[in-house]
Symmetry: D2
Subunit: 373 residues, 4 copies
């Protein structure tokens, strides 16, 4: 039942909903001595923030992080870190219409079925607003990964019919991603995506898309052989994000039509180390990292909130219609990157710590000399 925690050895626990007082995350299992402050959290929160560009919802939230515990004299103490982000834009609103009706595509009906009632102000706990806590937690995971030479980048690869395939996922940089408000690193595709998003907004509609995530610098050896494979934990991490409808890594669904002789990545030597000639396996074999870049893709459905009348049913079981007012993202992708990066960082950080608990000799061989978080 307690489904608000994620991670085994490096773990976040979150609370908060779209129209409550705020969102909070407790990060537990934190290595001591890591320089950490609100300045490490805010950049990713700003990338996730509503109102950051013309392409996203125009709600205005500062989303300022406040660290409540676990940091002393600028460093982590090893005790749990609580971070609070207050909600600000809690407009007084008339919910009489929405409170008794189920919005299509939203979790209104299922929350009602589960709990017997629901918090009808916005999406409550099902709102993507809860991802604030994930992003805040992920910011610390990223710092730990950075000290181990691991880099996680996510970008938008598709909005509707506009698709951009990165020729070399490992080469995509955060700077490229941040260069355009769509977060597609290819300028031409980015412009087309932006135009499509604006068009959909003008039509009171929304559009889906897809994102790529690449983690490079990951050592070979992370992941557990059976249930806690890295690919399994990443799939869970991604599908736990609102609106994500699919996950594939490496060749993914294309594997279904491939032959083994084409799909197998042959081992080779390069620069004095063992590598694979290709990376169809997306950096994971048997669910354990291979040292090649981890590459995966997520599908994100179009925003369910539409500024148009839609048929639905109310709590009393009567057919009716609903018009969702408010300021919504016409496409979820531009704000998706920091969330996907955070969840990826949390998974990898957890497995990194699990590895050094179980296999200290292998960890130390991969990271000789100490000095890392």
């Amino acid at each position: 039942m307690p489904g608000s925690s994620f991670g085994h050895t490096f773990r976040i626990t979150t609370a908060g909903e779209s129209h409550g007082v705020g969102n909070v995350v407790i990060i537990d299992g934190v290595p001591p001595g890591i320089p950490f402050s609100e300045d490490d959290v805010q950049p990713d929160l700003d990338r996730r923030r509503p109102g950051q560009s013309a392409l996203v919802t125009q709600r205005q939230e500062a989303d300022k992080a406040q660290i409540l515990s676990g940091v002393f004299e600028g460093k982590t103490t090893g005790t749990p870190i609580a971070i609070l982000v207050l909600n600000e834009d809690q407009r007084s609103k008339d919910y009489s219409d929405i409170s008794e009706k189920y919005r299509p595509g939203h979790a209104d009906y299922t929350f009602d079925a589960k709990f017997g009632f629901r918090d009808y102000r916005g999406g409550g706990r099902s709102s993507v607003r809860e991802s604030i806590a994930r992003v805040a937690g992920g910011s610390l995971a990223k710092k730990i990964l950075t000290s181990h030479g691991i880099r996680v980048v996510s970008w938008v690869s598709q909005v509707g019919s506009v698709i951009w395939d990165a020729p070399d996922p490992e080469a995509v940089t955060l700077e490229q991603v941040e260069a355009h408000p769509t977060r597609c690193p290819d300028p031409d595709s980015a412009e087309k995506m932006a135009a499509l998003i604006k068009q959909l907004r003008s039509e009171a509609d929304s559009i889906g898309g897809a994102a790529m995530i690449c983690a490079s610098g990951v050592p070979a050896g992370l992941g557990e052989p059976v249930f806690d494979k890295v690919k399994a934990d990443l799939a869970k991490a991604m599908l736990s994000i609102p609106a994500v409808t699919g996950f594939e890594y490496g060749v993914g669904f294309r594997a279904a039509s491939m032959r083994g002789s084409d799909n197998n990545d042959l081992f080779i030597r390069k620069d004095g180390a063992t590598h694979t000639a290709t990376n169809n396996h997306g950096g994971m074999l048997g669910g354990i990292t291979s040292g090649e870049p981890i590459v995966f893709r997520c599908a994100v459905k179009p925003t369910s909130s539409l500024a148009r009348e839609q048929a639905t049913v109310n709590r009393a079981g009567e057919e009716t219609s609903i018009l969702t007012r408010g300021r919504h993202d016409p496409c979820l992708l531009p704000r998706f990157s920091p969330i996907a990066e955070a969840m990826t960082a949390l998974v990898l950080c957890d497995h990194l710590l699990r590895w050094r608990a179980q296999c200290p000799a292998q960890y130390q061989a991969a990271y000789p000399g100490g000095g890392r978080c």
Copy 2:
């Protein structure tokens, strides 16, 4: 680190590898009083078994289940159930070639990187043989689901270029699935798939595919709002299975190119109950079940073991080549159904028990009168 357990309230813990003494599962959190014996386990083990048809590996293993604990006078006692399946076909073999080389596509290299050495007899813990324990555990989960009117069926929807889209996933029956050794319910497609598999074997190659899973009769209300969404737990469950490279539910990756106005499933009334007119959401909204059938798809890569010479690298870091002898599945799909069903049943059973812990009134409203496991 302990990655050999799955589930929160209804939990399995497994051990065993391809060439050890046997595979064992401990099922914990079992409701008492459920009629249960080896006869409930064996049918699914037989569906998973090597040697069951001409399409699969010709290794011969009886895979007989033995219940060691937790059942008394034919009923579960509420204490943990241990089930043991001994390995039989442990051919004495010369491993001198394989023990120092990394098989392409396998976990040999990554296990070595993680642990510093590996069990080189077959795949060890990375072999699909560990799924015996999952299937044995899933057989009890299925019984609990059945007593709640929930049915889980998985079938093969694709082998290489041969694709069969079920017109109505909810209508596919276990009998249809079992009618052909491919486990594709459509006779024509099944024949084509079988021919393709035989061809690939004759070419010393292998082929990938995809499977569909449908769970019907699931009440609205299962799943946790944030990390333990049902879609997230299903994604983890599926990606934890060897060779699975992708997961999508409902419209899945097609959502990336859809508009919200097309993707949203409108709520309607049917037979005096609230339903959705369409099921693009694959039975889950906000990660919580909606009462519509849960429908998802998995990609499965082609078998990595090929009876042909492949380039590779050995432990000493020298380039070499390897020829994997042995009896392998030319396609993993025909034996995939019982594994996918078991993992799906484990996820749903876990959430069913979590629901009645947290929301007993809603559970009792959905299942009035008691009498269920």
Copy 3:
């Protein structure tokens, strides 16, 4: 590693230290629809608060609870509840003396050994101030227990040489406990304890004691047969509280000198139900509740902070001495009751929810008619 969570199905996760911004608890697995507000939390926080009487530390902290999430229109929603209590009395202080020295009896040295450095302002995370989060979480557990007819009361049974044995633990009421600032229900003993505490303070010394806890109205059937016995979870709960050095239930350590024929509690019939004639077993047999009152005792060591010079060692490994200034409890017992009750309530609430997940028929037989949280 993540050691800041407690409970399996009803779980709290806490963060905060004595001199940080505040203490926070996230309660997860909350049943929906329970009336809950800050007014339910504050009374127990006030019982735990410094400065509440002349017998305790004279630090002044209002310890006001603020609910951040999980409650809507006065009721729990089923999503996690975060409660924040800000720290107020963070006196600016000169720590130059204490920061490099290890206070005897405190966790200064062990935190330093574990983490490589420590938060030297007060006890940091080892301060009893973290119990604020436990008490806040326990207040909701108590509400759930109350709706199931379960009552938890803790009182002071010993301060130094002054001992009071309750003739009938089940008869002790919260009102009796709260009638005197020592929280000993016996007026004469309470006066003697108070005098002893005042004397110790005047001598710049401190004194230990013991507390009793009784939970009545607990149904037979709570607890897991092996590791998660109720007695085991209670022992962990109590020993997790700072300064607790012992736990015993029922006859406890006296069992070591008893014969089986004296210790065995014979089953009898009383008022149409099965009971035991005596309660040497403290309400638990095989670690599962028997329906008799749960009765146990905890030893609490004397406060380690003393307003006198003590020999010690500093971080540089030099022998030195230390004089701990500040306002400390001369005896920890008067503020112990709400903490012990909270931890007991958390354990029982967790097992109650686990029981109804696994054994719904038995739960419903014990609580017919529904209507409980």
Copy 4:
């Protein structure tokens, strides 16, 4: 609900009951490369075995361990280790008398209340026979501790009125413990205890006792600051053992009557390291190990099974009497040492691995040069 697992990072999961096929343990989170075979398990199983001396039950069970997985070429692979111990002495027996009656002091009534029925052959899952799995799991934990210079010894300090206080707990050796079948290291006390046990058996009665446990060589720094204090995990570990009714560490319950100035252990320098002058704190401060020996004591109640008529109640709710036949331990203490040592080793091993996950620099400083498990 799943209460059959113990430990966070080094974890055992157990199954089995007194009259089932056997007892099994799965050890997960095992470091790779540790030499391990049945020969490491059998000695402790033999110390736990029935029939080993005239002082214990005369049931005959060989209790032979069989490793099913996780070991290859004599070393742990890092994957889970399953160990099976078959039950042999399953005498065919007439249970018609006992099956409907509740044995005083046993868990018959509480299992029935919890699950709605029970396995009435012996104690089922509540029998001390389940400790076989703990001891088997603990044998591997001990090996890991040994490679870190940590030694765990438990001995009998009390049987009824015969008490032996070890003048120096750290000096007690396994050889001294094993020198006498009572497992009291003091020859005179051992003889008196043996005489008392024989007398009680002759009177068809039983007697309680107490055991001491000492872990030496433990580095400073193990344990989590709040819930997973080492003292808390040890308390849970001990109280999870059948018949244990109390736990205290260091001065324990004597702390209740002590002054702070007497109880505080002053820090001193000895042999170039920081120590405490006394060890009232039993090796743990703030729940974290201090480097001083960990010392604690457990109370064990007298065996509930008595070869005499006792009043009781049956399942139908009628008062009746019961005579428990069979071969029982007149005192549980002589067989308690290996169980207590196993649980202690499991707790310390878990915390050791958690420490090196979170604080690798501190771990490496304590264990320079590598080479440990």
